[in-house]
Symmetry: C2
Subunit: 437 residues, 2 copies
């Protein structure tokens, strides 16, 4: 077999059906896809590669999927901390966004986010923000995979001033990136409390026609649930169910407030949950019952949320927090073991985003979204189990190489498609402007 | 004024009484102590320094204090995960320790721990382990500050086979390091369930005589409390109180199970609490009510616990987890704000260890235990508030320079007193030996 690149690694965690840990294996890439995954000796005998890369001490994993973020909010990182969700949102974040967010803000903020995520082994993210066409363009240029949100929110901005206008702009985005290999669109209604019901119903119809996912904040905290119950006489999940929105197209983010019947209903409909543990903790939103959701057979993925409520986009840190917190919340030290945390941040994310045929695991035929992590750092030595070291001990600086769709975007920790100095300079300039007010 | 070193930094977080954030300040070091902390212009006018170091984009903080760990357990990192405390301890960790722990194990494991901690900005730690005289020696050589535990535990090992023998060896340690500038000793009875009452009583008397702290695992989880209640008719805190051990000399580690009267009693006696959030989560031990303890006026410090239950010794990550988890547990997003998290991991640690006159804050006259963190990383840009970026977003790889007692031990991320290659080779050799069994 002839391939473009053959990578030899000490371990591969393919996130396959058997949760295998492969020692001394090699992964071949051709035409942007995984062409082979074999024991090294077999690979050397059978595969002719234009280039080989030897990575002793490294583990290969599928690219991490950040299933919920607001990438341009990197520019608001640390602007308002130690505040509850509604104060943070209504008094700090939305006013700043109304004042500052334009296409340039989105371009500069997305670039900073993509730089941070690629350096941390994230190869795909699901985004919800204004001017998502700019986010799509930045990702296309940087070689990053994105599910760009066709946002709808009851907040007049420079981007759009009504639900109809938000929807119209979203559909333009959809058309623009139709069939793009890296950029896809999903509906992204902000929440049931900040989107008119007519717009939710319209998205339901359109999502069916266009076969796209619907990405929404849902049951983020108690106040949200009580507010919707007070104003509409039903809990947010019940509203979505009535509107026909609970199903495998739904990416339901946060879900810290759940009754047993709601968990059963989510499982029955095949809706996906995105758990954002650090944002939920930081905003004191509540605890998502991750172990219960998994036991009920619900697909649970992981997200960082935006950098204004996290405050980083480090999914490797987030999957550690998720693995640790799930044990504390369930009261069981065997809840969400290391392999499951890795699965939540890769294959489960791909499933939630409707991309599981393409990404999420290292299997022959799937896109070559691959991350190499150096486990030779003092922090991950000695090594009894590579998955344990990755999940419970590795730092994001140990991510050394990243490929998206076979294209190398990070080499020895340095980005190949982005210029860090100019990105940081732009972020600084925004920070100075925003801080002055 | 003449000094050895003058450091110019964009920000200094001295952790002083006012939680100041100083911009464009300079810190002078002479004779191992902070000789001055001034606005840069004043420093340049008044101070003559043998050497100056300009650190644009960096923040200076006091060295982090890891108030509870078992440093040699780095060699068991990842050996047994996803198990509850008592299974993990009795079926995995103690058997491995009985088999493997000797002076060489302790020397190699401590070196790996000190390497990891210095690289992560930890300049002082409180340790509880066998052969603590070896830990003390390794720290003295590496220029690391340590409160070495005079351990006592009902577990016959090669180190000691009875409580009396443990105590005897502990006192030897005390004598050996008496008046050492970096190494001090504290009693370290493992717990009330694994130490005979007579030995606890004896340590009470000796701690008074020698004026040393007493470092103990206390109310780590529900089973521990119930077991002691069943066997002794009182909860562990009540036992210690009866034995006269509750007081400012007590370093009480974990404390996840607390009744209101116990919190009041702790506050009344001035006992210190060390919170180890990641270990508590990983072993599903319960949640320490950190915000309540702080409100009650109790001094709460932070620890990583050992690398077998964390699995890293990254206190910067731990203080983030502590800041986030406290909000979730208290249900208040303003619980443990960033400045308080930094205080818990510096000055509060120094107080717990009985070293607050010497370390824990950057104030003139205190020892120059100083850490410089580069906030220019994409992950901490833009920058509205250096303390927020440090606590909520920075990675341990952003720690660039570390001084302990005025001696530089880390320069540009590279250790000056330790040899990483030989330390990792030794750790690997242990890993291979232990994994083989």
């Amino acid at each position: 077999m002839q391939t473009e690149l053959l990578i030899h690694a000490d371990w591969v965690l393919p996130v396959d059906a058997g949760d295998a840990t492969l020692a001394k294996h090699s992964l071949a890439i051709a035409d942007g896809r995984v062409a082979a995954l074999l024991p090294r000796a077999e690979a050397e005998a059978q595969i002719e590669a234009a280039r080989t890369l030897d990575l002793p001490g490294h583990v290969l994993i599928p690219g991490l999927v950040n299933a919920h973020t607001h990438s341009p909010m990197t520019l608001l990182r640390g602007l308002a901390d130690d505040l509850p969700l509604m104060t943070w949102l209504y008094e700090h974040i939305w006013p700043a966004e109304r004042r500052w967010v334009d296409q340039e803000f989105v371009a500069d903020g997305t670039r900073l986010a993509v730089l941070e995520m690629l350096r941390g082994g994230v190869t795909c993210f699901s985004d919800m923000y204004f001017h998502a066409e700019v986010t799509g363009r930045v990702c296309a240029e940087a070689g990053m995979r994105v599910l760009a949100g066709m946002i709808v929110v009851d907040l007049p901005t420079r981007y759009a001033d009504s639900a109809d206008e938000y929807l119209r702009r979203g559909l333009e985005l959809y058309e623009h990136f139709r069939d793009h290999p890296l950029v896809r669109a999903a509906f992204a209604p902000h929440s049931t409390y900040a989107v008119p019901e007519a717009a939710l119903a319209r998205m339901r119809t359109l999502a069916d026609e266009l076969e796209v996912q619907v990405h929404i904040h849902l049951h983020e905290n108690r106040d949200e649930v009580l507010q919707v119950l007070r104003e509409h006489g039903e809990r947010p999940i019940a509203r979505l169910d009535r509107l026909g929105l609970l199903g495998p197209q739904l990416i339901a983010v946060h879900m810290t407030q759940l009754e047993p019947a709601e968990i059963a209903r989510l499982a029955e409909t095949g809706a996906h949950v995105v758990h954002c543990p650090e944002s939920n903790l930081k905003l004191a939103s509540g605890f998502c019952p991750v172990a219960e959701l998994l036991t009920a057979g619900i697909n649970v993925a992981l997200g960082t949320d935006g950098a204004a409520s996290n405050n980083d986009l480090n999914l490797l840190g987030e999957l550690r927090t998720a693995a640790l917190l799930a044990k504390g919340v369930a009261g069981r030290a065997n809840a969400v073991p290391a392999q499951q945390a890795l699965r939540m941040s890769t294959l489960n994310g791909a499933k939630a985003l409707g991309l599981a045929d393409e990404i999420g695991s290292l299997e022959v035929g799937k896109a070559a979204d691959v991350v190499a992590v150096d486990l030779g750092d003092p922090r991950t030595q000695p090594l009894y189990n590579p998955c344990s070291q990755l999940v419970y001990a590795a730092g994001s600086h140990q991510v050394r190489h990243v490929w998206v769709r076979g294209r190398q975007v990070l080499r020895d920790g340095a980005p190949l498609t982005l210029d860090p100095a100019s990105i940081i300079a732009a972020a600084r300039a925004w920070g100075e402007r925003i801080a002055k007010v």
